[in-house]
Symmetry: C2
Subunit: 421 residues, 2 copies
């Protein structure tokens, strides 16, 4: 097999550990000079390939590449760009393959969620049809933890740890204040369709009655009456109520609560963010003083409190992606396989991209308590290993040291036919 | 001097390190059995004294007391309760002194902000007048960093570190996404009257052009036009704009932006939280996609990323408070004195409660850049030492271990004359 260059791209929302996967890819690829020439990275994800903006990672020092392992965000830039079906528009696929051909790229490593695995799968099929077969390997990444086949997704363990730690800390705070001040605290977390991130908040509650007292999942239709009763009971029993709210909470009819107007009776119009709305509703109906936080990007970029297990797995899937390619595999994705819970053991397995693409893994019903407001022991058993270990970044002068790469682009080889990308 | 009992209370909003001060008080007091008998803690702050709900800390193990040093929140409960002037209502002061007398309490350690120092000062004066003189020592605490005399306030360094780390991490995230997605990120932080916490966000920007690009201070009237121009320029120059917003941002006329209706022209009504409003304004005027986070209690309870300097100082002021009392001092507060910046050296000085009470220390104008959107080198020089060092709590099974004390109440000795408290 001749030497070919490789192309690596980051896709969609970034995480605290997607750069650890990049580190795994680059460090491993650098060990195979007999098969892999240069490793190019897409400037801002797949857009970098479409625009022929290829970052030459060979110009980065080994030290800086190693520092990716402790740097959150996407070091080469990411983007939200979903390629349409080739049946609708073949142009971007042609363009990708043209650029890959022009730069002698034989390997495509695509680090993302379900959409990205789908794209990688299609590029694999189409490149063969177009006479320039490319080895396409997906690398799992999503804080939403919603990919099938793999036991869990790199990126999730760290956001899970952040949410569990944060709700524990804030709950300690409100417990101190509840005698004559704040009685209800709400934390809004990510997860538009799947409640994995919200579920992770449940790890803060190790004994009966501990906070959080309520979790609102996208999978469980919001029932205002039952919810308010539970809030009231928590305040009566514990003096306060601590709540984790998934941004994806929906009404019975499947409408996102953030978009609903069901609280208009209170005269309040929403500004985005579901927790201000729910907080006002609690105040209006029960009269409790509240505080709320919206974690937003803080939760997925919080490398300072990343899960060591997550960092290790993120690196491992990047490394395995290159090893799969070296073994001649194609259209596959390294998947995390859970070998045992006690002690927690995992290994890297192999998933066909065709089986991963575009399938969203929601929380099984038996992971949510019967009343719909908490997690079960099975869920805890599943989640707990994923937040194990702390992997603190190095600090300099009181602040975490995160690397910013040079990101030098290689010279373009083909005339850009249009400004379409 | 005979043996007297001591009373310790936590006041107002709690912090990541107020328990470290409690630890300093209790561990030090336990070393003086010749002068200090039992150390009682107020159940929910000063309310515990008024209600005669005294926690017997002698029933807590040395191990649990030591664990306070790494536990956020107020371990004995806090409250928001400001005693009126004795000229208006002498009753609560009488009651306090009655309770202190009934439980043979000779030392009152009050851990809080400006109001609490004022209360401690008044109790010191009145107890003498009432024939039961009590040694009153204040212990500084406030995330707002707004006490005078002391160089800085325990609690602030940790929230400063949290905010600086969080805005750096979230800014790395948005920098990855800005090519075709989010262009503006806003983080709302505490500080209703003083912008110290917001200023700390500026520590994330070590070189020109680094995030955050804008800080909105309560001390600088909000100028919509100039703000929008700066946002636009940041996006043009850096591809994105990262903003730290103090909850206390005000209009020219001193009105809190959260309460203003100046954006009603957009048809949006506010729900509390200033960043959703500012975010909408940016979207409306400049068209940029945005994300926002509200840190709320997360910032002041984030013991997992506490400043080691802050923890050390919090403990030191607790320890010094007891030592002051042992030296026969009264109506004073241990203050942090900055000895030098390079290297950073500090010591514990002494402030008269009369000089501390009810004075709010705002940011000096020369700590804010001329354009009003950033911090100066003098400000950085002041802030940087306060976030030095990491003091991670112990972790068990992936989660920080925070202690919950027994908090056993001692038997009441006086008939409660009313249910007023």
């Amino acid at each position: 097999m001749s030497v070919k260059n490789a192309f690596y791209a980051q896709s969609g929302g970034v995480t605290a550990v997607i750069n650890a996967s990049a580190c795994g890819v680059i460090e491993t690829a650098r060990k195979h000079p007999d098969k892999i020439g240069k490793i190019f990275a897409g400037n801002n994800g797949i857009l970098g390939a479409l625009r022929e903006e290829l970052i030459d990672t060979s110009l980065e020092t080994a030290e800086d590449i190693a520092a990716l392992k402790h740097t959150p965000s996407g070091a080469f830039g990411s983007c939200r760009y979903k390629l349409a079906s080739p049946l609708q528009d073949i142009a971007p696929y042609r363009r990708l393959i043209d650029v890959f051909r022009a730069h002698d790229i034989g390997y495509f490593f695509y680090n993302g969620g379900g959409d990205s695995q789908d794209t990688a799968h299609k590029v694999s099929l189409l490149s063969k049809e177009m006479g320039y077969p490319i080895t396409c390997i997906g690398i799992p990444k999503t804080v939403d933890n919603d990919l099938p086949v793999t036991d869990n997704c790199p990126g999730f363990g760290s956001v899970a740890k952040y949410v569990a730690v944060s709700i524990r800390e804030a709950s300690f705070d409100v417990a101190s204040m509840c005698e004559n001040s704040t009685k209800v605290f709400l934390l809004e977390v990510m997860g538009r369709n799947a409640g994995w991130v919200a579920a992770a908040g449940g790890l803060a509650s190790q004994n009966h009655g501990e906070a959080p007292h309520i979790i609102l999942f996208p999978e469980v239709p919001f029932d205002q009456q039952r919810f308010l009763e539970k809030v009231q009971k928590s305040v009566q029993d514990h003096g306060y109520c601590s709540i984790v709210v998934s941004e994806g909470v929906r009404t019975d009819s499947g409408e996102l609560l953030t978009h609903s107007t069901s609280f208009d009776a209170f005269g309040h119009i929403q500004l985005g963010g579901i927790v201000p709305t729910i907080a006002r509703m609690i105040k209006h109906e029960l009269g409790y003083k509240y505080h709320w936080a919206v974690a937003d990007y803080l939760q997925r970029s919080a490398r300072h409190i990343a899960s060591a297990t997550d960092v290790e797995q993120a690196y491992a899937v990047g490394k395995a992606a290159v090893e799969f390619a070296m073994q001649g595999k194609n259209a596959v994705m390294p998947a995390i396989v859970r070998e045992s819970n006690h002690p927690y053991k995992w290994s890297i397995g192999e998933a066909a991209l065709a089986d991963v693409a575009n399938i969203e893994q929601k929380i099984p019903r038996d992971f949510i308590t019967e009343d719909g407001f908490g997690i079960t022991e099975s869920c805890r058993e599943y989640l707990l290993p994923l937040i194990q270990g702390e992997d603190y970044p190095p600090f300099r002068d009181g602040m975490p040291y995160y690397v910013v790469l040079q990101n030098n682009l290689v010279e373009k080889k083909i005339h850009d036919p249009s400004a379409a990308w």
